[in-house]
Symmetry: D3
Subunit: 132 residues, 6 copies
Amino acid sequence: MFSITVRDHLMIAHSFRGEVFGPAQRLHGATFLVDATFRRAELDDDNIVVDIGLATRELGEVVGGLNYRNLDDEPAFAGVNTSTEYLAKVIADRLAERIAAGALGEGARGLAGLTVTLHESHVAWASHERAL
Amino acid sequence: MFSITVRDHLMIAHSFRGEVFGPAQRLHGATFLVDATFRRAELDDDNIVVDIGLATRELGEVVGGLNYRNLDDEPAFAGVNTSTEYLAKVIADRLAERIAAGALGEGARGLAGLTVTLHESHVAWASHERAL
Amino acid sequence: MFSITVRDHLMIAHSFRGEVFGPAQRLHGATFLVDATFRRAELDDDNIVVDIGLATRELGEVVGGLNYRNLDDEPAFAGVNTSTEYLAKVIADRLAERIAAGALGEGARGLAGLTVTLHESHVAWASHERAL
Amino acid sequence: MFSITVRDHLMIAHSFRGEVFGPAQRLHGATFLVDATFRRAELDDDNIVVDIGLATRELGEVVGGLNYRNLDDEPAFAGVNTSTEYLAKVIADRLAERIAAGALGEGARGLAGLTVTLHESHVAWASHERAL
Amino acid sequence: MFSITVRDHLMIAHSFRGEVFGPAQRLHGATFLVDATFRRAELDDDNIVVDIGLATRELGEVVGGLNYRNLDDEPAFAGVNTSTEYLAKVIADRLAERIAAGALGEGARGLAGLTVTLHESHVAWASHERAL
Amino acid sequence: MFSITVRDHLMIAHSFRGEVFGPAQRLHGATFLVDATFRRAELDDDNIVVDIGLATRELGEVVGGLNYRNLDDEPAFAGVNTSTEYLAKVIADRLAERIAAGALGEGARGLAGLTVTLHESHVAWASHERAL
């Protein structure tokens, strides 16, 4: 199995509902380092998993749709706790849609799976892994 | 599949028995960065894998039970080479006991598995992965 | 010259005023890794710069006074752009006050200076350096 | 499952053929951080996955066979795009041959698998995972 | 004193002349992580050292002028060993020219100095520091 | 001003005397990442600060003289608290002696200064800076 990973980041405000979140129930924020990992069993005709330039561009566009925002005000997240692990799934699913739409090229249709990891600090991170 | 990871560290002395360990047969020590990864198939009602505050606290307590010690003097490790990979298992198993005892909350009973990684330097680390 | 550095982090929401900030004029947020460096010419009687336990505790208290907040709502920052470099100064000054008040011990009165660095992402950070 | 990982690095020149590579079609270069991960189900009699000294030495020899070279001039890579993911496989396969030849000791015959990750920058990396 | 730092990277091929360089006399390559640090005594009217967006853009343009090239073929470096420390100076000087030309805005004329650090691997880096 | 830095690491056991050290009065240990920075005003005839190969070798020898030991048993440290900041000075001074003895080559006589930084964990490090 092969994989490539590209990294970007986003900076958002949000708050959580539920006692489990303690002081994070207040409006606060986070920088998330975002690592998107693309997997496939065999390399394509160019000897790569996927065009790293396209992967970086598409991750940048998905991240750009969330960046510099207060997630509490985003209709897409109404009534939802935008936890790190949940946001990893949001980004993975949006990348999967783009792959299905051909945004990473025809070769990317051979991708087997996708993992998105969000680092909220140097001491905590979360991942979502899914098939394609 | 979702996961969250929290990081702590511990500083211990120990020595190894066996020629394979070369100069590490002498009493020396290590700082271990300790990453504990908790996995589950679906998020809970709070939209999280597990309460990151509880996960950090419980990891801190497990690490605290080993920290600032000479492992050669610990009865729990009598006659045992406390290699990085072995200590990863010790910490994973102690976390698993706490999860089973409810220390990470009722929701943590839905956890599927656990991985503990110990970094002994910037150029070497070890992991143990287990089911829950 | 000697120094020791301890790291903590904080997670806040804020917005900026001024066209130069582009999309960061919107309410967003950041995780700041906070590194506090304490400098002195000679080591003290314990052969240290300052008690690293006290340094960690005091940095934690200063960081705790800012953490999990929307800085736009903090009276201390009314009408102020809470840029990364500005926040580095805020934290340095608050640490300097604590040092002057004896919170880091008598020995800390021998400290020569202080630098605080805030990392807002893996690709951008800012520092403030001051004498004591 | 247990694993240990050791890190080394190599510095090479190369170029790519194919429009997908854009400016990387020109002769350029890279520093690759190389992480080799060795996996096995149970620890050996010394309580380890594999002798970390031998693992470091063998990785060093495999890396040394590629280091400080223009890969475009290496017969082994004639007509091949030496992408990061492809080089991860080259290194994994060369390590696997050495393991089979006994270079990591008799105990290493119990290894279940191997993953090699090459970091080409702080924002991009690639892996190859294989059984043994 | 205040500073901000932004990070980019570049990937080049080159070779060195002189026995001191050993195997690095062969054509090889490097990924350089490039950190540009801008210093000033007081913050400007926006409460910043310099517009981080402009700093990132200008560093990107300077880096872009070197990226994906064989430095042995660049007329600007004819007969010159393009060591990591020398390249740090090249990038610092090119940034200084842009600052003098107003590319970082009028406020950047208040900058006191500049440091450029190039990381050639996880175990080696070099810096050049200059006044403005 | 120019500098180059090389990194190595060491793994030792030790204990501290003095109430300020709390649980670190017990025999424990540490991995120290060791960064040695060499500074000079102008580059030498090879366009470098110092031969990075020699710098790495000499740092390795200094580190090797401390590695895999219980510092409490070393005559050189009898009655001394081997704090991180103190060990940074020990390593800096030993490197300075080697530079004076010509171990880094004739060119190294032009070095202006030296800084050694020891990272004891991901959240704490210490430095010693000296002239040459």
